[in-house]
């Protein structure tokens, strides 16, 4: 994909925060697609998003991103005055966001069951998320960046939000980057995936390629050898058996006795983040 195909690019992005170091990261977010960002708590997802948006100053690297007026942003916590009413927040957005569509925002509020006179501090966590998403979408932005948009939502509200985001994505050129730790969100509608672990990108590409790049392996303990054991990520030993994740390219190192199958996204992420038994 050429540069014109990316809505957001970061090259050599580095940020040091105490003991934690993010990067160096190279990130290319395709235009017109949904990109999910996954990783454990503390892996660097939020730091990455905040650095891309310029809220956190990068120590190194370059970022190419649309103007802020064309980016809708929602984090897992509202960034509004708790004593504001929803209509006050909408008025603030209307003053600054180019192309603000009040009718569209009102429709989103009705869909999310949010009252214009409700105070921000009276909203539940899920309602707060919905409000921020409605505000983020209120001017039909070119790029939506959402941090854990489905956290705090019940299953029905989560499904409704996914439907709404799908509708948004039907607009030509609309792009979405969202972080989550709920892998079912990814399976439902993400096209691309960025997998971050300990501040580094472990995988960046399509979901289909991810499932092809990794394999889920199960076998008997006697199938483990000093050569093949280090190749298993998230090795879990049971009574006489083991399982874990390997790179598909390493399949040949294992004997015919082991079972190698296509993994789910959750298996890849869970095993990748889990340290091997002997490391505990």
């Amino acid at each position: 994909m050429n540069t014109m195909g990316y809505v957001l690019e970061a090259v050599g992005l580095v940020k040091h925060r105490g003991d934690f170091t993010l990067g160096p990261l190279d990130l290319h977010i395709p235009r017109g697609f949904v990109t999910g960002m996954v990783g454990a708590n503390g892996s660097g997802k939020t730091t990455t998003l905040r650095t891309l948006l310029g809220l956190i100053r990068a120590d190194a690297g370059s970022i190419t991103i649309p103007p802020m007026g064309q980016i809708g942003v929602a984090f897992d916590q509202p960034f509004l005055l708790p004593d504001w009413r929803i209509r006050d927040a909408a008025a603030a957005y209307a003053d600054f966001r180019p192309g603000w569509d009040q009718d569209w925002f009102d429709r989103l509020c009705r869909r999310f069951d949010l009252r214009a006179d409700a105070r921000v501090k009276e909203l539940s966590r899920g309602e707060g998320n919905k409000l921020m998403i409605a505000l983020a979408m209120g001017n039909h932005p070119e790029l939506l960046i959402l941090d854990e948009p489905t956290s705090g939502l019940d299953p029905a509200a989560r499904a409704d939000l996914v439907d709404l985001l799908r509708e948004h994505m039907r607009r030509e050129e609309a792009s979405l980057l969202f972080s989550t730790h709920i892998t079912s969100d990814l399976e439902h509608f993400a096209d691309y995936l960025v997998f971050i672990d300990a501040g580094r990108i472990v995988y960046s590409g399509t979901l289909d390629d991810l499932v092809q790049d990794f394999a889920y392996i199960q076998g008997a303990l006697e199938d483990l050898t000093p050569t093949n054991t280090p190749l298993i990520r998230g090795l879990r030993r049971g009574q006489g058996s083991f399982d874990g994740i390997i790179r598909t390219a390493d399949s040949a190192v294992f004997g015919s006795g082991v079972q190698i199958e296509a993994p789910t996204i959750e298996q890849i992420i869970v095993h990748h983040q889990r340290r091997n038994d002997e490391e505990h």
Partner: protein, 220 residues
């Protein structure tokens, strides 16, 4: 409309929910300033001092309470525009509060059965804007660099240090107050206003540049 101007509107809107909470402390401060001196003129500097007590604490406190730094950035308000806009809001508050003090002076004079000389009142208003404005300009960069919670100590220490300095100067030079009032009476109001504007302009530029530099490097 210019982004900075619109930001001032947003800044003032963020104060509105807390206006009712401010009424009681404001009355206490104004009464406490007038009662010991029984001078209606005390209303003017006391009202101006409110700008340094209320202004940064509420404005930067709201930023922390509502994570508004993130809001400003996502609304496309550049850091430089935010800094300039916040300076404009602070100055606007100072002028509005001093004007309110000036308006309350004849009312206070009526209650205290005292006479007022409008030349002295106007000179005090100009002086208050100059001095309190300078105070604000000294402490604002700390708020931009550290945020409300961490800068609160500086916000309290700066006015406290100045009050102590004034009290000590009063002890050291007992006739200073009378001399100052006499000097104010004898000085052209236009010159006083010009001096206040000049002091604020120089200090304001230095303070604003410093604040912008400090805020530019801050992680929000």
């Amino acid at each position: 409309m210019h982004t900075t101007t619109r930001f001032v509107g947003l800044d003032l809107r963020s104060l509105r929910p807390y206006a009712r909470n401010m009424i009681v402390p404001v009355i206490i401060i104004l009464v406490a300033a007038v009662l010991p001196t029984r001078s209606p003129y005390a209303m003017i500097p006391a009202a101006a001092v409110l700008a340094v007590i209320i202004g940064p604490q509420y404005l930067f406190g709201n930023d922390e309470r509502g994570h508004l730094d993130t809001l400003y950035a996502t609304l496309g308000i550049a850091r430089r525009q935010f800094v300039t806009g916040r300076y404009a809001t602070s100055l606007l508050l100072l002028i509005a509060l001093t004007a309110a003090g000036l308006i309350l002076t004849p009312v206070t004079a009526l209650v205290l059965s005292a006479e007022i000389d409008w030349t002295i009142a106007a000179a005090l208003a100009a002086g208050s804007i100059g001095i309190i404005g300078s105070l604000l300009l000294v402490e604002l960069p700390a708020y931009f660099a550290l945020g409300a919670t961490r800068a609160r100590a500086i916000g309290l220490a700066v006015p406290a240090a100045i009050i102590v300095a004034v009290v000590l100067a009063g002890w050291a030079f007992p006739d200073a107050g009378t001399t100052l009032l006499g000097w104010l009476e004898g000085t052209s109001l236009a010159w006083l206003a010009l001096a206040a504007v000049a002091i604020l302009a120089v200090l304001g530029t230095v303070s604003n540049v410093l604040a912008a530099r400090l805020y530019a490097g801050r992680d929000l």
